[in-house]
Subunit: 199 residues, 2 copies
């Protein structure tokens, strides 16, 4: 049996490590690339090499950009005294897409986990405390995922911030815009009921 060339197998193997792609779909993706070598594969390889070379973590907040300090940290208009703590760069991007938050961010890069030996140092929590003091922060918004890990981490950060005389808040829980009660889980309905407001 003659196999696919070694270089192509190596590419399929690397592609299959991307989230959402298994061995079969990676093979399909590579085949699509092979059919559009000039139109898609070469530009994609080039774009990926450029980003791999130029991308860097913002040394203040952990956002990923192409500069040492990201555009959000570089923009003086975003020195609102608010820091939004997120778990991941994806969450920061999601917040930015929403466009509702005008302050700055602090990306943890994960959640506390004794099993995986991820402690406060790995999540840059000491850096966060230093930023709160140094940048004259008045409010820290904990925008962590509503999972057990996320909420454990949020509690830890809230405790660590307690001595610093800063307001601590978290995102509201409730019915999503356009959400139908019938399809919501009981926990969300309970939270929305407890946080009900007069109209």
């Amino acid at each position: 049996m003659t196999d696919t060339p070694r270089e192509i197998e190596a590419l399929i193997d690397l592609m299959s490590r991307l989230p959402g792609l298994g061995p079969r779909s990676a093979r399909r993706a590579v085949l699509a690339l092979l059919k559009k070598r000039a139109g898609l594969m070469a530009p994609l390889a080039q774009a990926m090499a450029t980003v791999a070379l130029n991308a860097r973590d913002c040394r203040l907040c952990g956002n990923i950009g192409t500069e040492d300090i990201c555009p959000v940290c570089n923009d003086p208009r975003r020195a609102t005294g608010e820091i939004c703590v997120v778990q991941d760069v994806a969450d920061l991007w999601a917040m930015e897409r929403g466009g509702a938050f005008r302050g700055r961010y602090h990306v943890l890069g994960g959640t506390l986990s004794a099993l995986d030996a991820i402690g406060p140092e790995e999540l840059h929590i000491p850096d966060l405390l230093a930023r709160v003091s140094d940048e004259g922060i008045t409010e820290v918004i904990l925008a962590l995922n509503a999972t057990v890990d996320g909420q454990t981490t949020a509690h830890y950060i809230a405790d660590a911030l307690a001595p610093l005389n800063v307001q601590i808040s978290t995102l509201a829980q409730g019915v999503p815009i356009g959400g139908e009660l019938d399809y919501l889980d009981d926990g969300t309905i309970g939270a929305a009921l407890r946080a009900r407001r007069r109209i």
Copy 2:
């Protein structure tokens, strides 16, 4: 609102053109790459550039490899007098994985389609007829998909081969190995019944 850097957006846009990846999953894949810039992103960009540069279509059968003539066409042991006609390189790879076929291939690269102006020339059917004469082929196996387009193309090729005194065959249709009757469509069960054999 500050957006993700231009280079990263360009990469997400290119990734989202791969089959199986939409805009959201492309964003997620790029984010995973950004987190493993040295370990995954740089090697992937490198592997993709290598393949984009080195991959070429075999000028005899249309298989994709790194040489002008693919390993199957280059292997004298595969001059069995049989040619297997497949729609796509993916089908050739699937046949090779199976390891049951010892002859050579002819990749059409699609199916006949009046709507998309894909005629016999685009599918290299004249090349196939020339190969049958030149290479002393005794049997042409039409391993095309069991779809309307695939079967129309198979009929066309069978008609074109008719004057050439060559045996024409197609893959058997029936119950897949390990298949359960209960889950099979009626068409397959009907085909399997019509092609039943004595034991």
